[in-house]
């Protein structure tokens, strides 16, 4: 089952944040280990990674570099993964940030929250530039959404 949450009241699409892929990633952690053979840099212990307005928190974070040109291919986060962008929060056990595609694939009981609204499933793919989520369910983890509709009166009041 595939549920795409585009626009609407739950996860409203917002303007693109520009070329996020070209922005530097700043990372803080307790420890770093590089592996020249696998072309990786693994940060561990209270990891915080920021790129623009997107922040990833995790126990462990591994940056993979491409052999040609040394560009960042992907960033793997594991253990208490939390992704924060604006008022959106996504949680999971693991997450993979694909730099070229500008998306984060969350697995391991992934959930996305925005205010009181929440969606969970087997896999959540979060498109960071579009700020939209695609939630995929599975046999053992159906998509569940808890949506709190906005009160009409309040909305009307704001628009005036």
């Amino acid at each position: 089952m595939l549920l795409s949450l585009l626009g609407g009241e739950v996860f409203a699409a917002q303007p693109l944040s520009g070329d996020r892929g070209g922005q530097p990633i700043t990372i803080k952690s307790n420890e770093l280990a590089t592996d020249s053979k696998s072309r990786t840099a693994t940060f561990s212990g209270n990891v915080t990674a920021r790129q623009g307005d997107l922040t990833i928190y995790a126990d462990r974070l591994t940056v993979y570099y491409l052999a040609k040109g040394g560009e960042v291919e992907k960033v793997e986060a594991s253990g208490n993964v939390r992704v924060v962008q604006g008022d959106r929060l996504a949680t999971a056990r693991e997450g993979v940030y694909l730099n070229k595609e500008q998306k984060i694939v969350l697995t391991g009981e992934p959930k996305v929250f925005q205010g009181e609204n929440a969606v969970s499933g087997k896999v959540i793919t979060y498109y960071v530039n579009e700020q939209k989520s695609v939630v995929t369910g599975g046999a053992d983890a159906r998509v569940e959404a808890v949506i709190h509709p906005k009160e009409k009166g309040k909305d009307d009041g704001k628009k005036r």
Partner: protein
Amino acid sequence: MAKINKIRHVLATIIILAILYLAVSLVLKLTQTMPQDTRLPVLPRNIELSLNNIHYSEVKDGVKKWELFADKGEFDKAKNVTLLMAVRFVLPDTGRNGTITLTADHAEYQNETKNVTLSGNVFARSDSGMEFTTSRVFYDASRALVTSQDRVRYTDGRLTVEGIGMELAVRTKNVKVLRDVQAIVTTGKKG
């Protein structure tokens, strides 16, 4: 006849005075050009030997493990340590990242263990472009491991890291930064 003798005496006196003048001038000139003190400077009591332009290397099974160059060195016999100044420490290519060259103001070479401590403006660079700076590193010869307990700034390609404490495995060229890591990873195409 008496007049002729007088002339001879005068001439003889002039010749003797001229010879004396030349002799004295020669002696004075020689003493001026001679060095004031040709003795070697006295070494401190603990220093057995002072050396210039030093080159050490360790070769194991026909393979060069490292090379150590220094402008000056002093051998401390009691501690079996050679104290080196203006040092270059070269770790040859092991198939990854190429040769790593470390430079420092000072080094202590333990003659028995072959361990080396580099201190003062330690700077390292590999053929592949990896660099780091710190104030002091220790090379453990038995483990082929370079370690530092001090603040380190490390760069490799798109990764720039600052932290405290570091381990560099010479064989694999893998690096660990041990505490308080702050890194910047540049993304996108270079140039």
